[in-house]
């Protein structure tokens, strides 16, 4: 996905056990902060087709 031109910060793989609640909160906060910092990605918003 990074290769097609999506910011690498939007993609994260983490290994969180069901017992690791603190880590889960930390990961979620980090990811949301990173994505918020990037702002919305509008590449996938479909433009209305040009009037043909």
């Amino acid at each position: 996905m990074e290769h097609m031109g999506i910011e690498p910060e939007r993609i994260q793989f983490s290994w969180v056990s069901s017992a690791e609640s603190t880590k889960f909160v930390k990961v979620v906060n980090e990811v949301t902060a990173a994505v918020k910092a990037l702002g919305p990605n509008e590449h996938f918003t479909k433009a209305n087709a040009k009037v043909a």
Binding site: K46, A49, V51, A52
Partner: protein, 353 residues
């Protein structure tokens, strides 16, 4: 029929005048090939081409077009009720369409403009469009238009036909629409160019080396052709892509789809292809044309037999050769037509004998 002479030095000037009244479309070279694009003000169509990769059919009949829009928001009074999508039916002109593509438009008209139903999308755009043909003085080696009821100077479907005569164009006005366009462009230098055009036409026709025979198709027995044993061999190589149908100027099949984004939706029409298995599959999973043999047969039978029987205006092929050039596995309609036509002949002999 009136013929006007337009000096090439005045060409840009004429385009500028046309631009005031018409949306202009013309061939443009993009990368390795020519395609039709809308011309911005000041753009010139590029006539240094043999034929465009895709035909001009998409200008009247876009590959994707919105039909209706609607809202699914139940707080709105008109929710779930379909309304016409915005359309642009202002006058448009296609500059440099080849006679084969223009003849194809008149074949498409048979499908979209019927006594029972009129397709408003196709027809409104057709009515808004003036076709300025560019005669074909350098036909491709794969062209066989002269044996499909068409030709490099064929006028059917065109509003004007122009030929490149060195430092000027000769332009023949073929319809009221064509005369209006010529008037808008200021093309009024009438001359007696008929003989020149006729000579050029003969020279161009002589360059068409390929031909197909279609004389037995009309009388052929549909079911005998359908059951002919050559279909396995013809269809073997087919990979079931839609290339032949999408590059074809006379293929018209389409699909209708709903697309929803949030609470807003639209109904869209897209080109479809009889080569795709899902074209005919029933909800039950039953597919009347389940095998590629059946689908390949359908395409050629439609073009060369069903259409011939239904409209009695000849075959549904203008001989542009695009499918021959671009089929990824070299299935050649000229060869298929030959097999069908000669099968029909042998079939008739068998019936008589």
């Amino acid at each position: 029929m009136k013929i006007v002479k337009v000096d090439k030095k005045d060409w840009t000037d004429g385009l500028a005048k046309l631009y005031r009244t018409y949306r202009l479309f013309g061939p443009v070279k993009e990368g390795a090939f020519h395609c039709f694009r809308e011309l911005a003000e000041g753009d010139r169509p590029d006539f240094e081409f043999q034929n465009t990769r895709l035909s001009a059919k998409g200008i009247i009949y876009p590959q994707s077009e919105d039909m209706f829009v609607y809202t699914l928001d139940e707080s709105r009074e008109d929710h779930h009720i379909l309304k016409e999508a915005p359309k642009d039916d202002t006058p448009r002109a296609v500059l440099g369409i080849r006679p084969c593509d223009a003849k194809a438009v008149s074949l498409l008209k048979l499908n979209f403009d019927t006594p029972d139903y009129k397709d408003p999308y196709w027809l409104d755009r057709y009515n808004a469009t003036t076709l300025v043909g560019l005669a074909c003085d350098q036909p491709c080696g794969t062209c066989f238009c002269t044996s499909t009821g068409c030709g490099p100077y064929h006028e059917e479907g065109l509003d004007l036909l122009m030929t490149d005569a060195g430092d000027h164009y000769l332009i023949k006005l073929l319809s009221a629409k064509g005369e209006r366009l010529a008037q808008s462009a200021g093309w009024d230098g009438e001359i007696d160019g008929l003989a020149v055009m006729e000579n050029r036409k003969k020279a161009a026709e002589a360059k068409i080396t390929q031909s197909i025979a279609t004389d037995n198709l009309r009388a052929a027995d549909t079911l005998a052709l359908h059951q002919a044993d050559f279909w396995e061999e013809i269809s073997f190589a087919c990979i079931n892509c839609g290339t032949c149908t999408y590059v074809c100027p006379t293929c018209w099949c389409f699909d209708i789809q709903d697309e929803v984004h949030g609470k807003n939706g639209k109904r869209v029409r897209n080109w479809d292809s009889c080569m795709f298995p899902i074209f005919t599959v029933h909800t039950t999973g039953h597919n009347p044309r389940d095998t590629k043999l059946q689908r390949v047969r359908q395409r050629f039978m439609h073009k060369l037999k069903y259409f011939v029987d239904k409209y009695e205006t000849g075959i549904m092929c203008v001989g542009c050769g695009r499918c021959v050039q671009h089929c990824p596995v070299n299935i050649d309609i000229r060869r298929v037509c030959e097999l069908m036509n000669s099968h029909a002949a042998s079939d008739a002999c068998a019936a008589e004998g």
